[in-house]
């Protein structure tokens, strides 16, 4: 069943939903990267919670106009409008009052959500509202989705993705360095507006699939995970899009394959799994890489100190140092230095003496700043400079 789902053989609707979720994931990952780089990741939390009153009001308006209130496009338009109002509130509270942005976000998300819940209870007491199924928007539900809705989802995802492709350069610039962007003639305000507009569009398109409580995860988690893999913003955007796409695709497919697997949570947990893998195993920034780098550094310090002790004829007691030096063939099992060991110890001592002289000489201030007890001086000075330095080594030089 899972295989059929992953290869899109579970019927038109499931296929469309899966493709739509993948497109949604890609766009959310990409846009989320700009939000994350601009340190505004949680604004999307306010946006998504602020959609609820709009959904409720749209439903009530449709019922009052004689419809059954369940037309997805109108519900989405309502949700977009109220999310926009929420966004304006966040921005007003942040810029015009003393509240910080996080407080503004929290205030807007809780108040709008609360108002939305009031509207939901109003709807429940209306005759047409008994079967409204608006609760599906909280956690997303793709089961029993209509063909038209699935088309809206897939087309919406594709449109937002196209917009991201068009706008990605100015958005990256503004997210990273608004001052530089202004100086180079980018319209920062309009670009930020576009960024927020895209986040809003993703939220609205994702409401039916992931639900409004979890859509924020799709904007944050892929971006944060991708950040581990690269320092270049274009690549982070691509990787985040990839992570989001894979999570959306696999999550939607898995959820279609079994009855008790709600779409939104599965997609989010998929993305979280990728995040954990990135956190642990990413090269350079991952936990494993940092740990290995630390171990290598530790080993170098220990060996260096061991060599200096050897050169000065002092005994070594420290276990790790002994083990490392034995493994490198610098000392024998009984602790006596080998020929290589003696040679390297002499070199280490010479290097240390040279550094000492260099650091005492104010003319070499710039070079002395690079002293870390590990870097050989040959890497800092030219051979000519070394020769000159060695002159002051004096008779006790090696």
């Amino acid at each position: 069943m899972l295989f059929e789902a992953l290869t899109l053989q579970l019927g038109y609707n499931a296929t469309l939903v899966t493709i739509g979720a993948a497109l949604l994931g890609i766009t959310a990952g990409a846009v989320g990267t700009f939000l994350y780089v601009g340190k505004r990741a949680l604004v999307s939390d306010a946006i998504s919670h602020a959609t609820l009153p709009g959904i409720g009001l749209a439903f009530i308006a449709m019922v009052m106009l004689g419809g059954d209130g369940r037309s997805l496009p109108w519900l989405l338009i309502g949700s977009a409008l109220s999310a926009w109002v929420g966004l304006l509130c966040v921005s007003w509270l942040t810029h015009r009052t003393r509240l910080t942005e996080d407080a503004a976000i929290g205030a807007v998300l809780s108040v709008f959500f609360g108002a939305g819940i009031v509207l939901l209870t109003v709807i429940q007491s209306m005759r047409a509202g008994r079967q409204a199924g608006l609760e599906d928007f909280l956690l997303g539900s793709t089961a029993g989705m209509l063909w038209n809705d699935a088309v809206i989802l897939a087309v919406g995802g594709a449109i937002v993705l196209a917009l991201v492709l068009v706008l990605h350069r100015p958005m990256a610039l503004v997210a990273f360095d608004p001052d530089y962007a202004t100086a180079t003639g980018t319209n920062v305000r309009r670009t930020e507006l576009a960024m927020m507009g895209l986040a809003l569009a993703i939220t609205v398109v994702g409401l039916k699939v992931v639900g409004l409580i979890l859509i924020v995860a799709l904007l944050i988690i892929p971006a944060v995970a991708a950040r581990f893999w690269s320092d270049r913003v274009e690549r982070v955007v691509l990787i985040a899009g990839g992570i989001g796409g894979v999570s959306g695709y696999a999550g939607a497919a898995m959820s279609a394959s079994a009855p008790d697997l709600p779409t939104g949570p599965i997609i989010v947990l998929m993305a979280f799994g990728i995040f954990v893998l990135s956190l642990l195993f990413a090269p350079d920034r991952g936990v494993l890489a940092v740990f290995l780098r630390h171990r290598r550094f530790q080993a170098r310090v220990h060996v260096r100190q061991g060599l200096l002790a050897l050169a000065q004829g002092q005994p070594i007691y420290e276990r790790l140092t002994l083990r490392l030096m034995r493994r490198a063939g610098l000392i024998r099992a009984d602790g006596v230095a080998t020929e290589t060991g003696k040679a390297q110890a002499a070199r280490a001592l010479l290097d240390e003496r040279r550094w000492e002289i260099l650091r005492a000489d104010p003319r070499h201030e710039w070079a002395a700043a690079r002293y870390d007890g590990l870097t050989p001086l040959e890497r800092v000075l030219t051979p000519d400079q070394l020769v000159e330095l060695d002159r002051s080594l004096g008779p006790e030089g090696v």
Binding site: L42, L109, V111, G114, A115, I117, A217, G264, F272
Partner: protein
């Protein structure tokens, strides 16, 4: 309010939820003041999301919906969240907001999935309950009027959320009072507090734990949404009123009580006044009222603008 609204019916049906709402609101607003000033306002948001996986796990382990295992489960989840956020923030060098977003959404998703996967059909445990709470249903059937407040037999039938919430509130008030000076110092000038020898890290963690206690005690009765609103809105509105912390805390308590009372009354009686016959969600209405109070304070409050900024 109709006839007899302040009589037997009021004591039995409205007084307990009203008191629980007020206790919950104040219990959340007190630590909220400090969270707001420390720019940790969204911790309340994160904690109230992870309460769900906590209670679901507690239910799966103990097989019951008794209060204590649930509270402990929720408390554990809150603690794990705070620790996880800190670990991810430090290990991955990720900004706190994003680290928070990663952790609480993933844990909430896990909670929903667990809930869907497990058989909870026989018990009252669902996502909506965790979000909106169930304030209206906390009624006191044994009450026969105001006199019942002095009758030990009738008092035994008070919904057990009320004493629990009251105890949590008392604990929080006492803690706030006892640790007032260190809290104030470390909130406004962490460096100075450190030079005085105050353990600022412990104080920060303690504040988060107290917030978690408030959130966990409150969510069962009133749902996550009020918890988030009460952590942020009353303190934020109070911040617009004054520059003094003492006054801010006092205002926030006033606003919290006002939100709870007005919200409950509007939810219960408001629809009747305008001709509907069903009440609306009290939790949602309390959050909405707190938002209205914040909006009014943000427009008219005497200290609404950042010092040095142009008046809006």
């Amino acid at each position: 309010m109709g006839g007899g609204a302040l009589g037997t019916e009021f004591v039995a049906l409205s007084l307990p939820p009203l008191l629980i709402g007020v206790c919950a609101a104040v219990a959340c607003a007190l630590p909220g003041n400090f969270l707001l000033l420390r720019r940790q306002a969204l911790i309340g948001d994160a904690i109230s999301h992870v309460v769900l996986p906590g209670i679901v796990l507690a239910f799966l382990i103990t097989g019951s919906v008794a209060a204590w295992p649930m509270m402990i489960g929720a408390g554990m989840a809150a603690l794990i969240t705070v620790v996880l956020i800190e670990v991810i923030r430090r290990v991955g060098r990720i900004e706190p907001g994003a680290a928070m977003g990663v952790v609480f959404t993933a844990m909430f998703a896990g909670g929903v999935l667990l809930l869907e996967q497990s058989d909870t059909s026989g018990v009252h445990l669902d996502v909506e309950h965790a979000l909106f709470g169930n304030l209206e249903s906390l009624i006191w059937l044994d009450a026969e009027g105001w006199a019942s407040l002095l009758d030990p037999v009738a008092l035994a039938g008070v919904p057990h959320e009320l004493p629990r919430m009251a105890i949590a509130l008392i604990v929080i008030v006492v803690l706030t009072y006892v640790f007032w000076r260190p809290l104030k110092l470390s909130t406004f000038d962490e460096g100075f507090a450190q030079t005085l020898g105050l353990p600022t890290g412990v104080i920060g963690l303690g504040l988060v734990i107290v917030s978690a206690i408030a959130a966990v005690a409150a969510f069962d009765a009133v749902g996550s949404i009020i918890v988030i609103a009460m952590f942020i809105c009353p303190p934020a509105a109070a911040r617009m009123m004054t520059n003094r912390l003492e006054m801010q805390v006092a205002w926030s308590v006033v606003f919290a009580v006002a939100s709870a009372v007005l919200g409950y009354v509007l939810a219960g009686y408001g629809p009747v006044w305008i001709g509907f016959d069903n009440a609306v969600s009290a939790a949602g209405m309390i959050a909405t009222v707190s938002g209205v109070i914040l909006a009014v304070a943000a427009v008219f409050g005497p200290c609404r603008v950042r010092e040095g900024a142009a008046a809006g």
